[in-house]
């Protein structure tokens, strides 16, 4: 996914101006669709729009090779530090899944 950068501040949000130097933000880089769980919550009391999904996990994912983070729905239960990767984009939501770190053994 795309990350926008200026003055060392990286974000998945494309802002117009850099809050540090005031110049227009022009640097775009492509980073892998994977990262680690920085933190998470399990939402038990959903808004009406997501009532059919509850309970569901939302996590703040620290993207690989970047300072940027992204808020994503996660298909499984996770802990801080778990590796996750993009599974799909559903109705405008980034949905990540846990990477089975044991897979490499087989």
């Amino acid at each position: 996914m795309k990350v926008y950068e200026c003055c060392g501040i990286e974000s998945v949000t494309k802002k117009v101006f850099c809050s540090s130097c005031g110049k227009e933000i022009v640097n775009e880089t492509e980073v892998p669709d994977e990262g680690i769980v920085y933190s998470f919550t399990v939402i038990q009391v959903p808004p009406a729009q997501f009532a059919h999904l509850a309970p569901y996990t939302v996590a703040l994912v620290q993207l690989k090779n970047s300072n940027a983070k992204i808020t994503a729905r996660i298909l499984e239960n996770v802990e801080i530090g778990d590796q996750v990767s993009l599974d799909s984009i559903v109705d405008g939501a980034y949905v990540f899944k846990k990477v089975n770190t044991n897979e490499a053994v087989y």
Binding site: V45, A48, F50, L60, T71, Y94
Partner: protein, 378 residues
């Protein structure tokens, strides 16, 4: 130089009032504040409200208050900044007097929420987050933001759910002595920890409730015994994924620093505080951001009882949002109501030594707005 003083305060009981409309609540609190101020001629009205349009199908609240109170065709405005709507309305009232435009101003905040379902209220509260983002579509809720913060805070500091519970317990114990509070039933750490989960790790008692209520203040350039020493405001990130530090609320920190600078005071000079404890986690973060305790050590202060009524810096002697209740637009003004009573010496949970300097901090969104006011007994 012009200064601003508090002349009157008013507040409805917070709770569930099926038979009272949003307007009824606004008028009741306003009337009490005007009486307390001995009915000065009001030059303008500022209203704090968040969901009148969506939940009560009602706007033009400023003109309605002026009309129904019979104050004449004076200028009015409604201010919206999610849960900071009341604090922002108050600040606009202060600024309008400082500008020299008005002498006496009524500021009133209210919210009417209890008639709607929790799912509906949660949906509309989500309008306090940026709705045109992938973050919103991921299903992050307003409480979910603070749940995510709490999990990281516990991960980094070693704080436990029990420390969050201690914030909720303290505020409940304070609310028990406040007849205007929504929740006055005693509780226990066990009950708080084992309560139904709302958004992991925050349970029912960690989250401020849905509430009906209103609060009002009358401000004036004429001297009174309560002076507004500082009014300051900041904004902050509107998205969790854009927080540079998830365990920081920059809006709280910046609004606090600006207020201290304007007042020529620091955290050590403050005698009593009302903090925006929309969640137990938020109170811990904000006592750190306002400089009362070191960063990532607020939970230890809670454990040591430093924020209790008899502690070194009493926080939320009213019961806070968690137990006094959180009628969104009223909250920032209800904080002033409690602090003015503390300064006057007749508050619920009155401090043993009558305070001289008080600080109110009102938060909006997931840290999108923060307003700080410092009051002084003169």
């Amino acid at each position: 130089m012009t200064a601003v003083y508090v002349h009157g305060i008013g507040m409805t009981k917070f709770g569930s009032f099926e038979d009272k409309s949003l307007k009824d609540l606004l008028i009741e609190a306003s009337r009490e504040a005007l009486k307390d101020a001995d009915h000065p001629k009001i030059d303008a009205i500022f209203v704090g409200n968040f969901m009148g349009g969506t939940l009560s199908n009602q706007e033009i609240l400023g003109a309605i208050v002026a009309h129904d109170l019979g104050l004449g065709y004076i200028p009015t405005a409604k201010l919206e900044g999610a849960c900071a709507s009341g604090g922002i309305a108050l600040r606009q009232g202060v600024l309008s007097i400082l500008s020299g435009e008005y002498e006496n101003v009524l500021v009133v905040g209210a919210e009417k929420m209890k008639h709607a379902s929790t799912a509906t209220v949660t949906q509309f509260i989500n309008t306090a987050m940026d709705q045109s983002t992938t973050e919103k579509e991921a299903g992050l809720t307003f409480p979910g933001f603070f749940g995510t913060v709490a999990n990281r805070y516990m991960f980094e500091t070693g704080a436990k759910k029990e420390h969050l519970a201690k914030v909720a317990l303290k505020n409940r114990e304070n609310a028990i002595n406040n007849p205007l509070a929504q929740f006055q039933k005693p509780t226990s750490i066990d009950e708080i920890i084992n309560a139904r989960m709302v958004t992991d790790p925050l349970g029912l008692f960690d989250c401020s409730p849905i509430t009906d209520g209103a609060a009002a203040v009358v401000l004036s350039s004429k001297p009174s015994s309560i002076k507004v020493r500082a009014s300051a405001q900041s904004s902050g990130p509107t998205l969790m994924q854009d927080a540079v530090d998830l365990l920081s609320l920059p809006a709280v920190k910046i609004s606090g620093e600006k207020a201290y600078e304007k007042a020529g005071l620091g955290p050590k000079d403050i005698d009593v505080v009302e903090i925006h404890d929309c969640f137990s986690m938020t109170e811990i973060l904000s006592i750190e951001e306002l400089g009362f305790f070191q960063k990532l050590e607020g939970w230890k202060a809670v454990e040591e009882g430093k924020t209790r009524v008899d502690g070194e810096i009493p926080v939320n002697t009213s019961g806070g949002l968690l137990s006094k209740g959180h009628p969104i637009g009223a909250t920032g003004i209800a904080q002033i109501y409690q602090l003015v009573r503390q300064l006057r010496g007749n508050a619920p949970n009155q401090l043993a030594k009558q305070p001289k300097i008080a600080l109110a901090q009102n938060l909006g969104g997931t840290g999108a707005y923060s307003v700080v006011h410092i009051l002084e007994r003169v």
